[in-house]
């Protein structure tokens, strides 16, 4: 079965990908301006203190040795302690990551729930009023900055109507969902706009395909023609776009997390960059890069499932 080979090959690609990500992360952190020791100790520390801390952090060893130590530890999930907060890096990441993952999951679900039906309605009414109205609304969503949409949603739904909290994350799972709904919606709007436009174009293209005419000529019900022959084939192109966008959202929720005061990865990243907290930056970059490549992997699998021609 040739597809099994393709699948295994695609999975194995993960190994060198992760290794390269690890090396890149290590090098990039060393290229950042300023160094951790002076960031931690300030300008007036004595040379002796500086030397002691440098040795303590292992920063006096050769770059190669530091890299090897970093990769070995990283593979075990050990990124050392935060330089600015003095707790294990992994604990910070473990606290922030579920928040961002939930946020991205909510945003993706909402985006697809909004975009799929509307793209279909728009395509089936191409250039008539439903299509024009849907595209006009999404044009606004697409061209407005995320922080602006976020502030408007906050003002309307949290401020005036009081339906949702203004910020934070809550304590229980249901509270988490409740707190993350507005930021999720904020992130989902431009996402939905991109997916809607792409899927609308794909549906329009598929509608003119001969196999759709043939499906109608077979006497299939309209719903069967639209779902089995049109939607499925149109989704093949859109799946890639969704995968890329989910990847971008993982590291790109910074502004939304700030506007809604959500304690996610984005905010942790910004704080750590300002504090030159190398271990946290490295850990976050590595974890995010790994997550993005996993998102792409899932995208490829979904695509293979939708399109039997992939991997042959």
């Amino acid at each position: 079965m040739p597809r099994l080979g393709w699948l295994v090959g695609r999975l194995l690609q993960i190994v060198p990908t992760f290794l390269l990500i690890g090396i890149a992360v290590f090098v990039l952190a060393r290229l950042l301006p300023g160094d951790a020791v002076s960031a931690m100790l300030g300008d007036r520390a004595s040379d002796a203190t500086i030397n002691r801390l440098t040795a303590e952090l292992g920063l006096n060893r050769s770059l190669g040795a530091q890299l090897l130590a970093f990769l070995t530890a990283a593979a075990q999930g050990d990124f050392g302690a935060s330089l600015s907060r003095h707790v294990p890096v992994m604990r910070l990441v473990a606290e922030a990551l579920p928040v961002t993952l939930s946020l991205v999951a909510i945003a993706t679900t909402l985006a697809l729930a909004i975009a799929l039906p509307l793209a279909f309605i728009a395509a089936l009414n191409a250039n008539r009023w439903p299509d024009i109205a849907i595209r006009a609304v999404f044009q606004v969503g697409l061209s407005s900055p995320v922080f602006y949409i976020g502030l408007i949603l906050l003002t309307v739904f949290a401020g005036w109507l009081g339906w949702f909290p203004v910020g934070g994350y809550g304590e229980s799972v249901s509270e988490h969902l409740y707190h993350l709904f507005l930021p999720g919606l904020t992130l989902s709007l431009s996402f939905a706009a991109v997916v809607m436009r792409n899927l609308r174009a794909a549906v329009l293209a598929v509608l003119t395909a001969e196999y759709v005419d043939f499906a109608r000529a077979k006497g299939l019900a309209r719903s069967v023609v639209l779902l089995r022959h049109v939607l499925r084939n149109a989704l093949i192109a859109t799946v890639t776009l969704v995968g890329l966008h989910v990847g971008a959202l993982l590291g790109g929720a910074v502004i939304t997390e700030t506007v809604f005061a959500v304690p996610g990865v984005g905010r942790l990243m910004i704080d750590s960059i300002f504090a030159r907290d190398y271990p946290v930056i490295q850990a976050l970059t590595l974890v995010l890069a790994v997550l993005v490549s996993l998102a792409f992997l899932v995208t490829d699998f979904v695509q293979m499932w939708l399109d039997p021609r992939v991997g042959r």
């Binding site: 395909a209 001969e210 196999y211 005419d213 043939f214 499906a215 109608r216 000529a217 077979k218 006497g219 299939l220 019900a221 309209r222 069967v224 089995r228 022959h229 499925r232 084939n233 093949i236 939708l306 399109d307 039997p308 021609r309 042959r312």
Partner: protein, 323 residues
């Protein structure tokens, strides 16, 4: 012979940004059980559009008038549900290019069984059995493994056989085939035509075969209808029309056909090109290219009328051609 499918004065106009295009203009024909009617003409003559108009498969901007009668029932006035049952159920259709007419991401088996779901009460097991029977009927051996394969895993000829199997799934009484062999190489083309002809003889179906190839007509059809610029030029039994064409266009087409006796001479062609359809000719559409043209041809549109038993022609020179 009672006509299963009767088309009268079928006219199709496409509303485009540059005005109306008259793709089909007053076409009438009928086909009965066990009969093969060939619809022949060059590209843009309206043969495929006529065929698609029968089951109302044309896009929304096409305006269709005239009459399409399925056993006396008006197809153009059918409700959507009645039309759905007619399509595939009573009138099957085969397209030109199987690679694009089969859905590339669905297994062949599903593409057969979904027709069975749409038109029969068979359960899953019976549908599978019927699908295998259909593959066998169209000459695809080793069925079971074939059902789970995708169109790209079939050869061109196999794909066309599969498409015929799909069209036959619900036992339609009429099969409409739109250039079913144009995309295939010659030996496969011959196999597919034999298959279609055999199915007509075996199942008592009626077949309307659209083609631009007179050789296909000669090999497969009982009767032929020649189209030019959206109009019918000539209809009749294949043998009679080929032996004694009564329309100047048919005569020119037959002369342009390579065959025995043309080996030692230069192949004849018809000069000029097919007319534009946005401004229909006042007289005969073929007049500008016709070797037998006379003054009346550019002023009076010839009417299709009987010129011999079971043969009609719309040509002012019909009488001269008979001589």
């Amino acid at each position: 012979m009672t006509a299963l499918l009767q088309i009268r004065d079928l006219t199709v106009t496409f509303a485009t940004r540059h005005g109306a295009v008259h793709a089909v203009d007053g076409v009438s024909f009928a086909v009965g059980r066990g009969e093969v009617l060939g619809l022949v003409g060059e590209s843009g003559s309206g043969k495929s559009v006529s065929l698609r108009a029968i089951t109302r498969l044309l896009p929304d901007f096409a305006r269709v008038s005239g009459q399409v009668a399925w056993q006396g029932e008006d197809v153009l006035a059918m409700s959507p549900e009645r039309l759905r049952r007619l399509r595939g159920g009573q009138i099957g259709m085969v397209f030109q290019e199987p690679m694009s007419a089969l859905n590339p991401v669905l297994p062949i088996g599903l593409q057969i069984t979904e027709s069975l779901i749409a038109h029969t009460d068979l359960d899953a097991r019976a549908r599978r059995a019927r699908a295998l029977e259909l593959l066998d009927l169209v000459g695809i051996a080793a069925g079971p493994s074939r059902l789970s394969q995708f169109p790209h895993e079939f050869s061109g000829g196999m794909r066309q056989r599969a498409m015929i199997a799909i069209a036959l799934a619900a036992n339609p009484a009429v099969l409409l085939a739109d250039e079913p062999t144009t995309a295939l190489d010659v030996t496969i083309q011959d196999q597919i035509l034999r298959l279609l002809r055999g199915l007509v003889d075996e199942l008592g179906m009626a077949l309307v075969l659209v083609t631009h190839d007179l050789g296909v007509i000669a090999e497969t059809c009982d009767r032929v209808a020649v189209m030019y610029a959206g109009r019918l030029c000539e209809t009749g039994d294949v043998a009679a029309v080929f032996a004694r064409p009564r329309h100047a266009y048919t005569a020119a087409l037959l002369q342009a056909m390579p065959g025995e006796g043309t080996r030692d001479r230069k192949l004849l062609t018809i000069p000029g090109q097919a007319p534009r359809l946005d401004a229909p000719a006042i007289g005969c559409a073929f007049a500008p290219r016709c070797a037998l043209v006379r003054p009346i041809c550019t002023t009076d549109r010839p009417v299709l009328q009987p010129v011999a038993p079971r043969q009609s022609s719309a040509c002012h020179a019909a009488a001269d051609l008979a001589a």
